[in-house]
């Protein structure tokens, strides 16, 4: 997996008490909180991030964070990538759809997708990562992958790709926690994905094996905390742990449907 660097905003004076020549500084971050239409966004982002790292899914790292002005509120901060030394195509940007879609498009691939030409190029350059991300999205119930990734498309050598924003997955895949649990029970959810019909059977098989091979204790460590996180109680967290164990049983069946 490529190493993603994050963007340092400021570097302060050396820490006088440090024996390792360390300095304090600040990173560039994107701050997210729970809100009315995403009541469990913070918890879901934290868990999706932990799971992605266990599985080797290329995602921008994020951490729980607080600010003195909102002491009681836990936020999720996603670290911003350092992009100045790379030419990274931003799929998160709006697409004006100026170009014609290719005439021969595989059945099942939507010609309405934003950045379609770049997306098709992306599939050729990063077949493994795209397959990994797609299987992961199905497992965590992420229906919001379109536009939520960035990649290098113009390098001669293999470049960098990373996914970001898993805030509409897990207990935040619907606006309320109860509705999200209902959706996660459904084998037909998510019902679409931008990479469907563009996947490599070998690589999706590999990721399905990885997900099913996660020991229960690892899954438990990634999903259950000793405290309520935002609107998500400890009991909700145990139920999500159980939902993910249930969902991985039919993951193969789900993915076969989009190959």
């Amino acid at each position: 997996m490529s190493l993603l660097n994050y963007k340092i905003l400021e570097v302060f004076e050396p820490n006088p008490s440090s024996t390792t020549d360390s300095r304090q500084g600040s990173l560039s971050v994107l701050i997210k909180s729970d809100h009315e239409v995403a009541q469990a966004q913070v918890y879901s982002e934290i868990v999706a991030n932990r799971l992605a790292n266990v599985l080797g899914i290329p995602v921008a790292l994020g951490v729980p964070a607080k600010h003195h002005s909102t002491q009681d509120t836990i936020n999720f901060v996603s670290l911003m990538a350092y992009e100045e030394d790379r030419k990274i195509f931003d799929f998160t940007a709006l697409d004006n759809k100026g170009r014609q879609p290719p005439s021969r498009l595989k059945k099942g691939v939507s010609s309405e997708l934003d950045h379609l030409q770049e997306l098709l190029k992306l599939i050729k350059i990063f077949p493994k990562q795209i397959s990994y991300i797609t299987v992961f999205d199905y497992w965590i119930g992420n229906q919001d992958r379109p536009l939520n990734f960035k990649a290098e498309l113009n390098k001669d050598e293999r470049g960098l790709i990373f996914a970001l924003d898993q805030g509409s997955s897990l207990l935040s895949c619907k606006s309320t926690i109860d509705a999200s649990f209902e959706a996660l029970k459904n084998k037909g959810f998510p019902n679409t994905h931008p990479f469907q019909k563009l996947l490599s059977p070998i690589f999706v098989g590999e990721m399905i094996e990885r997900i099913n091979g996660i020991p229960d204790w690892t899954l438990e460590s990634a999903t259950i905390f000793d405290e309520n996180i935002g609107n998500v109680t400890v009991a909700d967290q145990y139920s999500l742990f159980n939902s993910l164990k249930y969902r991985r049983k039919f993951l193969r069946e789900q993915i076969i449907g989009i190959l």
């Binding site: 000793d226 309520n228 109680t233 009991a235 909700d236 159980n242």
Partner: protein, 128 residues
């Protein structure tokens, strides 16, 4: 549960735990809070429990169970069947993690739920 029953049960539990503190030299008030100790007694009273279970394990389980129940209490949880099922699942997983014996009829889980119901008002009043 009406108020009289609730007060009566709490009072009985107080008496029970006060006695236990005096007679059981392994457990002290400094180690366990009142609610934790009550759950500990409940877990220890299970007839399916082997005699040689490590006392520290039982105490750890009681502490974790109490803490997580306390944090999972939401208003009217006992009448919200969907949410109550999540609490039951949580209890089952915690007991399983500690290799605690659970009968097929989930009797101990039911007892834990009932005891959580007794403490609910007390736990919620601390949050206000």
């Amino acid at each position: 549960m009406n108020k009289k029953n609730y007060d009566q049960i709490l009072s009985e539990l107080d008496e029970l735990t006060a006695l236990e503190y005096l007679v059981d030299d392994k457990i002290t008030k400094r180690e366990l809070f009142h609610d934790e100790y009550t759950f500990y007694r409940l877990l220890k009273s299970n007839p399916m429990l082997e005699q040689d279970i490590d006392e520290r394990v039982l105490i750890s389980m009681a502490v974790e169970l109490t803490d997580k129940l306390k944090k999972s209490i939401i208003p009217d949880w006992q009448n919200n069947q969907t949410y109550k099922a999540r609490i039951i699942l949580m209890i089952q997983i915690i007991l399983k993690n500690y290799h605690y014996p659970v009968s097929e009829n989930n009797f101990i889980v039911e007892q834990i739920i009932n005891l959580a119901g007794v403490f609910t008002n007390n736990w919620q009043s601390r949050l206000i």
